[in-house]
């Protein structure tokens, strides 16, 4: 890699997102810090309501009222050098519009709702090209056909004039991916790209994302709750719980040697295809509401390692490095490690 190009393509620093509601402020993202390496897949994992989508929406500044970024910075380092602070851009500024869909683009979760039902897919893919590149309509159409072919849509020349309802769910998700990639973005945010499709289609879409990512060198932020998808696609993983990152590591050490009790619980509670146990080890309780985040470590009421008087008081623990590139936000991480070995 060229040494003048920064290794990180995106730095999210101490991000805070707040939703203002009648019952009070909900801190959906509470001090999230992570970096995306250029050309790699970074995954944000967590259960519903953990703030992973709020984080990804913040990167494109798509949060809508009552949601608001209340603190922190998101720094984008484009290929040509320089640095753009996304949080500092104006809501309707030219700079923000150039980023959205151009240099940073997004695959949304629902292939049914992410596409307009009243425009042909050609129109929708071309729109992105015409907004960001100085090309004629005919050229844009050519590019769109080429992109549709790349994502595996057969007879793209005729398919391009079809409407979304004429296509299956898997095809629609391919169109959404084509739309996101047609401007050759530096960062692709994939928000639950395979949640709404069947396993066999999921396998195809995952293969597609992997190939395109390799060929085009796009840096990808993968948002998902599916640990299988993470293991197969991601290079680096950050696990979120109640608006905070509780563990961060490269995919191999996270899946093989999880250090945070929450990550361990998540991995243990997966019914596995390989083994067959009578009872699934589950995490007790359920994710508390965002209004009633417990003091101390937010996971302590559900944690089997929690110590009263230590884990349930004061501020939530900050990230601590316990291995190469492996960070854990748990007061007892080292003790649990020692316990497990002995």
């Amino acid at each position: 890699m060229d040494s003048s190009v920064k290794e990180n393509v995106l730095d999210v620093m101490d991000l805070h997102v707040c939703f203002h509601t009648d019952e009070g402020d909900i801190r959906a993202v509470d001090g999230v810090t992570f970096s995306m390496q250029r050309g790699r897949v970074t995954a944000l994992v967590g259960e519903s309501g953990c703030g992973k989508s709020a984080t990804s929406y913040s990167i494109l500044r798509l949060l809508q009222s009552p949601g608001e970024i209340t603190g922190g910075r998101i720094l984008f380092h484009p290929q040509g050098g320089g640095e753009i602070d996304i949080t500092a851009l104006g809501d309707n500024s030219e700079g923000l519009f150039r980023l959205r869909g151009g240099r940073i683009s997004m695959i949304f979760q629902e292939p049914m709702t992410a596409l307009s039902p009243v425009h042909t897919i050609g129109n929708q893919v071309c729109e992105a090209i015409l907004l960001h590149q100085k090309v004629s309509k005919a050229e844009a159409r050519e590019k769109a056909i080429e992109m549709l072919r790349k994502v595996g849509i057969s007879s793209a020349e005729t398919r391009i004039d079809q409407f979304p309802f004429e296509m299956s769910g898997g095809m629609r998700q391919r169109v959404v991916i084509a739309m996101a990639l047609v401007c050759n973005p530096e960062i692709l945010i994939a928000d639950e790209p395979t949640t709404a499709v069947d396993v066999t289609i999921q396998a195809q879409i995952m293969g597609l994302i992997r190939t395109l990512q390799r060929d085009m060198g796009t840096s990808t932020l993968l948002i998902t709750h599916d640990l299988g998808v993470v293991a197969q696609l991601a290079d680096h993983v950050a696990v979120m719980y109640l608006g905070r990152i509780v563990e961060r590591a490269d995919v191999r050490s996270l899946m093989k040697t999880p250090r945070h009790p929450y990550t361990m619980g998540l991995l243990n509670s997966l019914p596995s295809l390989a083994m067959n146990k009578k009872r699934l080890p589950s995490i007790g309780g359920s994710v508390p509401g965002m209004m009633e985040i417990p003091p101390g470590c937010p996971f302590n009421p559900r944690c089997r390692y929690a110590q009263p008087g230590r884990c349930d008081v004061g501020h939530p623990p900050g990230p601590e490095t316990i291995g190469e590139g492996h960070e854990v936000a748990c007061l007892r991480a080292r003790e649990i490690m020692a316990e497990k070995i002995t």
Binding site: E47, S48, S168, G170, M171, D198, V199, T200, I201, Q202, A203, Q204, M206, G207, L208, R210, H225, D226, L227, G228, V229, V230, A231, Q232, V251, R252, M255, K256, G265, L266, L267, S269, L270, P271, S272, L273, N276, K277, K278, R279, L280, P281, S282, I283, G284, S286, V287
Partner: protein, 309 residues
Amino acid sequence: MSTGTPEIIPPPGQEPLLSVRRLCKYYPIYGKGFRRKQTGLVKAADDVSFELWPGQTFGIVGESGCGKTTVGRSIVRAIAPTSGEVLFRHDGRCSDLVKLDEKGLKPLRTRLQMVFQDPFSSLNPRMTVRDIVAEPLLINKLARGSELEDRVAAMLVKVGLKPEHRLRYPHAFSGGQRQRIGIARALVMHPSLVVCDEAVSALDVSVQAQVINLLQDLQQDLGLTYIFIAHDLSVVRHICNRVAVMYAGKIVELEETSRLFSQPEHPYTRALLSAVPSPDPDVPMKTDLAGDVGDPGINPLVMRGKFLE
């Protein structure tokens, strides 16, 4: 519970609780125009046969549109099958659910229950938990007064909720707790057969494990028989004794669980198994499955023919 050791099927000396024979459910397709002439048939379930013994869990897996829900709903007679037999044993008798009319079905409804997928839309937001769980008992005139209240409270405790939750509305509960309410509603009449249609698919991983454990505990305590419909193969493997794989309305493979997963015979089963992403990054997955899910309205051979002879 599947323990990995092959079981004897059928269990010696036991009659099956349910025998499904050549069950079909066809939906007509009507053409355009004033006369709306029938132009074709969607074979949502086509010639489905299997047997189910008491205390077992029978899994039906397949992708969306394969007909697994149609089979489940036909068995509890939420919809009327086109043809075939569903023989159900109860109180020493054997009834064909397909031939019975509404009146004949009514006494059997208490024995056949269903747990639905989406815990958010399957509970009436205007009813309290007590009303939701008590409704089946009231409709079937099985309990009233203090007995009714006791049964509701006992059922709530059984599914892991508190009796004081009775007066709350569904919106006050999390997804996992709502699914527990749905389970309480299904079990309050002591059914013998429960059809769980994607009962844990909408739940988060950590909560999903709790609900799976709950379903297994209840099966042991109450001697329930489950038909477990799901698309998640790892969940099915965990709780089912036998599994049927469906594709385009037909059962393409039916096998005892550990055999199905260790030696899948049918190419579609193999494709389905290889598509599940493993949580181990060192186990690579296959991503080269061709084509789209078969549309039951047209010949599936055209779409992904290699899976059906």
